[in-house]
């Protein structure tokens, strides 16, 4: 596929509900949802609202754990990772908006272990766009789609509503 073809994007809110249906009843009652900033954090907030159970909510910024620091430096504004529950022994569902190479998830898993030793970590993503460069797979997926490598799928939030757009990759 080339970037000349603009892929058909699913509606983000409908995809979120599809993801909720897959997770409902499947995730542990007390699983903590940890969203990767920034898109994953928005999805995690919504999952915590929509999925019944006693779910702690946390947010993680993987800037300090990325593998491309040597090439791109520390450009963007990193945010404080906030995990206000005990990571030791916790069941954690890591949440991201788009699963692509798997590198952000690798970074997030490493960071989680610096907070403690979780009992288990699962992965939930709104979109799985393929193109993995690491042996990482999601346990819960809202929608799967194929997108050219030189395009990036961007999740936005406006007044609480999520939406998806496609943009050319910006090489930071």
């Amino acid at each position: 596929m080339t970037s000349n073809e603009t892929p058909e994007l699913p509606d983000a809110e409908a995809t979120l509900l599809a993801l909720v249906e897959r997770m409902r009843g499947a995730v542990a009652f007390d699983a903590a949802f940890v969203g990767i900033y920034s898109g994953g954090a928005w999805v995690a907030e919504r999952l915590a609202e929509l999925i019944p159970g006693n779910h702690s909510l946390g947010f993680i910024d993987v800037s300090y754990y990325r593998d491309d620091y040597a090439r791109t430096g520390l450009k963007g504004g990193a945010r404080r990772s906030e995990l206000k529950f005990d990571v030791d022994g916790a069941t954690i569902v890591l949440v991201d908006d788009v699963l692509f190479t798997g590198r952000s998830v690798r970074a997030a898993i490493n960071e989680l272990f610096d907070f403690g030793r979780p009992a288990c970590i699962e992965l939930a993503v709104l979109i799985d766009r393929g193109g993995r460069e690491l042996p990482i797979e999601a346990d819960y997926v809202g929608a799967r789609l194929a997108v050219a490598r030189d395009l990036s799928i961007v999740l936005s939030r406006d007044n609480g509503r999520l939406s998806l757009t496609v943009e050319p990759v910006t090489n930071a």
Partner: protein
Amino acid sequence: MIRNPQLNANGELTHLLTLEGLPADVIRHILDTAEPFASISEREVKKVPLLRGKAVFNLFFENSTRTRTTFEIAAKRLSADVINLNIGVSSTSKGETLLDTVDNLVAMNADMFVVRHAQSGAPHLIATHLNQHRQTHVHVVNAGDGRHAHPTQGLLDLYTIRHYKREFTNLTVAIVGDVLHSRVARSLIHGLTTLGTPEVRVIGPRTLMPTRVDAMGVRVFTDMSAGLAGCDVVVMLRLQSERMKGTLLPSAGEYFKHYGLTPEKLALAKPDVIVMHPGPMNRGVEIDSAVADGERSVILPQVTFGIAVRMAVMSIIAGN
């Protein structure tokens, strides 16, 4: 135009030598970057892997336990390898020049130098030397040079002020004491004016004021009570007795009487004033214990913030 040696061809910070002439957005980026680093020190594993495999050399040609330690902690929390060189008692005493020492350490694959030197301009000399020899992957942080600059102290002071006061654009800040010998004061004045602080005051005896200090955009007060009136922030400077030659002051007791910060004098400032000090403090010389340990003092939070600020500086310049 001569390029600022601190910035690379893209205008990004690659060395930190002074706050003078540093654009406001670069300063704000450092302060913003420091904020999340502050939380790392509260984690179970107080480390992030950002500078894993990097070699940071602490080159201290002048003694400083605290600054060296905070740089060492900052580098270690970024997972760098830290090598401390106490140069005063090694190579230079055998006659090696500063730049030969640097070249030797670059040959050992140094990635960053944290430099403290009694001579103003030594870190600048090293940075220029590295730039000229295309060693642009090696970075320099000035940890205090002569009377010139102490930019990471200036940045941690700015971070502290912003933490408690949020904005600079409505503040009155007083810097009190031995401005003449103080690189801390110079760095802070440049940072405050760049960020738009409307009133920066310096308070001290004429003998401890640099000539033409008013050219830095500050108001000069020799009367402490007048200078403290209405201040939001009071920064006390250490009386640098070890740098004093001749008869700049009659005695430490006389100094305390006129320029020591007591609760009575502090009452002239705003009720929500914060009191800062770069350390090490001389209790009973420039500051009364009742103030240093009092509820308006943020002297110990400054130390904690200093680690986050140094982590931010190192991780920004090492990535550019």
